[in-house]
């Protein structure tokens, strides 16, 4: 039986912890329970936030295919992630 995992490149919002409400991009699937999250500013690609998958809500948005490819290949830059999240914030009402 396959395991549901967060998709690398998905945007998500923290539901628990001191970072509650912060948006991130999933950059790593560490285990069935844990993901690595970055926002390119507070949490950079060199130091992803390790968080329980159940403590985030996956948003109906994801990195574009080019950024996704660079995340998977390890060539993404922090400013690209940050820009992606800023674009998302601008796209939502009141963002």
């Amino acid at each position: 039986m396959s395991l549901r995992i967060p998709q690398i490149g998905s945007l998500c919002i923290s539901l628990k912890g001191h970072d509650k409400g912060r948006t991130y991009i999933v950059t790593q699937v560490l285990s069935p329970e844990y993901v690595g999250l970055c926002d390119g500013k507070v949490r950079k690609l060199k130091n992803p936030k390790k968080k329980r998958f159940k403590h985030v809500q996956v948003l109906n948005a994801s990195a574009d295919s080019e950024l996704l490819k660079s995340i998977v290949n390890g060539t993404a830059k922090d400013n690209q992630l940050h820009k992606c999240l800023l674009n998302y914030q601008k796209s939502i009402p009141g963002g």
């Binding site: 039986m1 396959s2 549901r4 998709q7 699937v29 285990s31 069935p32 290949n73 390890g74």
Partner: protein
């Protein structure tokens, strides 16, 4: 922490996975047009019980059946219903068992009667992807090496990889660490060590990689309605060649 199994524990995993493999061989004799998914589920469950093991999917996360039976555009987690298989269908059977507290898991996609060339090729590519991943499943390599090999083979053959579901570690629990995504980069992810047991399971689509979940909350389908195939075995990492426990 990824559990490492000792010799005694591996022997138990061999035993339960042998039952899962035997159940797959047993059900093949029944697969033809007219049989319903519900009937297949009953035959598999009865077989596993007759071997002294128990189906381990049943009631896990409240899943209601012993098997996942996914037909045509259904990728995984199809709940067996009283729907008869038709000539030309492809059907993925995914099930496992638990014996003495140790779990086994395997999936295959079968052709019912004569299927289209593209469907037949899809089934073959899913199996080939598993073996490409298996070739990387060695002590000293990383999970990403498996993921990359699976993805590369699928995409080279014009298929896409389901990204939101993955393989997994297996042992005392059906789902253990690590997750084994079917896409990724070489050299990334957890280091593989002797004694780890992994369920490697490529899920391959003829169309795009996007999937959706039916209203039943379980059945995962391709979003574009194209066919999907699934191939899975439980594998033991050794110092040399990996061992397929559910062969």
């Amino acid at each position: 922490m990824i559990p490492i199994k000792n010799a005694k524990e591996i022997a138990k995993m061999r035993a339960v996975n042998a039952i899962v493999a035997a159940a797959h061989r047993h059900i093949q004799g029944y697969l033809s047009a007219g049989i319903t998914a519900k009937e297949i589920d009953t035959i598999v469950e009865d077989f596993i019980l007759s071997q002294g093991a128990k189906p381990n999917f049943k009631n896990l996360y409240r899943y209601p059946a012993a098997t996942c039976i996914s037909i045509n555009d259904a990728v995984i987690h199809g709940i067996p219903k009283a729907v008869a298989l038709k000539d030309g269908d492809i059907v993925s059977l995914d099930f496992g068992a638990v014996l003495d507290g140790w779990h086994g898991d395997a999936a295959r996609t079968y052709a019912i009667g004569s299927v289209s060339n593209s469907a037949q090729r899809l089934i073959e590519v899913a199996k080939e992807c598993f073996y490409q991943g298996l070739a990387e499943a060695r002590a000293g390599r990383r999970v990403g090496d498996i993921s990359y090999a699976v993805q590369a083979h699928a995409e080279k053959n014009g298929c896409s990889i389901v990204r939101s579901y993955s393989g997994h570690g297996i042992g005392r629990r059906l789902h253990e660490e690590p997750a084994i995504p079917n896409y990724g980069a070489k050299g990334q992810g957890a280091l593989l060590k002797r004694g780890m047991t992994l369920a490697i399971e490529p899920m391959i689509n003829l169309g795009g990689f996007e999937v959706k979940v039916d209203a039943d909350g379980w059945t995962v389908r391709t979003q574009d309605g194209f066919l999907s195939a699934h191939y899975e075995n439980t594998v033991l990492i050794t110092d040399g060649e990996p061992e397929i426990l559910s062969r």
